[in-house]
């Protein structure tokens, strides 16, 4: 593991959905600038883990630190106390998230989507936000779609716009929740290219994905999750080349044999 300072640190995270124990003691450290990919069968808790990192799901136990600061809740006199909604929002503003279903705002144009949070959350001047948005749209290859509405775009274009929207907040880290799973096969590559480019620019990234080639080529570390636990983690070469755990071997055999 790298010696670089931590961007995200997770200790002892537990989460239930009713009687279902979906995260069973997750410990994970992501260094600044590191790209990690989380793989595993569906229902293994990968997406839930990602959603806990920016508190879209509330974990019952455990601690999350982002850039050295404990977030979402603190121990006060021996009992856990949640941060205020405003404080939680302030942390989320520092962590970008990209969703499987894009979740662009359909009533806003592409540029409207991108400047929305910089203008209304970070209170940046509109023309400055626009300038930055145009740079980001160039970065994700959407300079010709500035004034289009999301419905007028292909899935791949929507997802690239969603990435630009997250980047517009100048996040410290980016979370990708199966960002290519809802795309037609021929549109997957354009989104992965943007993600690969982002990784090469030094962005800290946590990527939940079924794209094993992406994980193999881009990730510094691959995490294999099953039944709410991290079963195995290591460099892609080790995980894909010589997995130690039987469950990892079993999973890789099913996904790679397709």
């Amino acid at each position: 593991m790298t010696d670089a300072p931590s961007m995200i640190e997770i200790e002892g995270l537990h989460k239930h959905f009713g009687s279902l124990h979906v995260l069973r003691g997750i410990d994970l450290r992501v260094a600044k600038g590191e790209v990690i990919c989380i793989i595993g069968p569906s229902g293994s808790g990968k997406s839930t883990l990602l959603r806990c990192i920016n508190h879209l799901e509330v974990a019952e136990a455990g601690r999350i630190r982002i850039d050295g600061q404990t977030v979402y809740r603190d121990e006060v006199n021996g009992s856990m106390r949640s941060h205020s909604n405003r404080a939680i929002s302030a942390v989320r503003a520092q962590v970008g998230m990209v969703f499987q279903q894009f979740n662009l705002f359909p009533h806003l144009t592409v540029i409207g989507n991108i400047i929305e949070a910089p203008v209304h959350v970070l209170r940046r001047p509109k023309d400055e936000a626009r300038r930055r948005a145009l740079e980001l749209l160039a970065q994700v290859g959407l300079s010709d779609k500035v004034d289009a509405y999301p419905e007028e775009l292909s899935g791949g274009q929507q997802q690239r716009a969603a990435i630009a929207r997250a980047l517009a907040m100048d996040p410290k880290a980016m979370l990708f929740d199966e960002a290519t799973s809802a795309l037609d096969p021929e549109l997957v590559a354009e989104v992965l290219t943007v993600m690969r480019d982002l990784a090469s620019r030094g962005m800290t990234m946590v990527v939940v994905t079924h794209e094993m080639n992406f994980a193999r080529q881009v990730a510094a570390r691959v995490i294999f999750m099953d039944h709410g636990q991290i079963v195995e983690e290591g460099e892609p070469r080790a995980i894909f080349g010589a997995p130690r755990e039987p469950r990892t071997r079993e999973f890789l055999r099913t996904v790679l044999d397709r």
Binding site: M97, F99, V121, A148, A166
Partner: protein
């Protein structure tokens, strides 16, 4: 019995038209007030504060469980007995606003709940507080969804203002009643009143239909 009498029609068209203007005025005042009040009711009904939710629920059920006509009479004739004396226009506006807001708040609620969880997630992930997300992301989409339903309610409201004749607001039905009491020309007078309502309602209904088609077309750049 004499049917539609042109002389009677010509002699009374002025006062009847003035009555129609009052009907329209009443409608518009209630539309504006209930658009805002119903939204507050809808948001109150979804509040995290439980007593507020109960209050909203009780209000909606009370309104839905009693006739509008009774509500009008109650506010105009019963409230003075506890010292609240309102002129007929104000009483009519209050009764209609309270009544329609109960129904419209349910329309708003439906619209707000129709917005997918993904929109809430995306807004939250960008650091928006729930209030900001509601104002900038959820409501603009919800309002667009409910515009046709609101339009239909407002057309119904336009016709329901006729009930205000019982509290002697000088709207078109009341005006016709006053004139008819003098000359007994029911057929002519009430036919004119019917035509007046229809010439406003029918185009309004077409407009709502148009808005509904526009809405279904989704969000796109204006062509041309």
């Amino acid at each position: 019995m004499e049917l539609l009498n042109p002389e009677i029609a010509a002699a009374n068209i002025g006062p009847l038209f003035a009555g129609l203007v009052m009907t329209i005025e009443l409608t518009f005042v209630v539309i504006l007030l209930s658009l805002v009040f119903a939204l507050l009711v809808a948001l109150g009904g979804m509040s995290r504060f439980r007593p507020l939710r109960w209050l909203v629920k009780a209000y909606i059920e009370a309104i839905r469980g009693t006739p509008l006509l009774l509500q009008l009479i109650y506010i105009y004739y019963v409230l003075p007995e506890i010292g609240i004396r309102l002129n007929s226009f104000v009483a009519g506006v209050i009764a209609l606003t309270l009544n329609y807001s109960a129904y419209l708040s349910e329309v708003y609620r439906g619209g707000i709940q129709a917005i997918s969880k993904g929109q809430h997630d995306a807004a939250a992930a960008l650091g928006m507080t729930s209030g900001l997300a509601m104002r900038r992301i959820i409501l603009p989409q919800a309002v667009r969804i409910v515009i046709p339903a609101l339009g239909n309610y407002f057309i119904a409201l336009f016709k329901d203002t006729a009930l205000c004749s019982v509290i002697s607001i000088q709207e078109v039905v009341f005006t016709a009643q006053i004139i008819a009491a003098r000359n007994f020309q029911y057929f002519t007078l009430y036919t004119i009143v019917g035509i007046m309502y229809f010439t406003v309602s029918f185009p309004a209904a077409r407009l709502v239909g148009y808005l509904e088609r526009r809405m279904r077309a989704g969000y796109r750049r204006k062509l041309r």
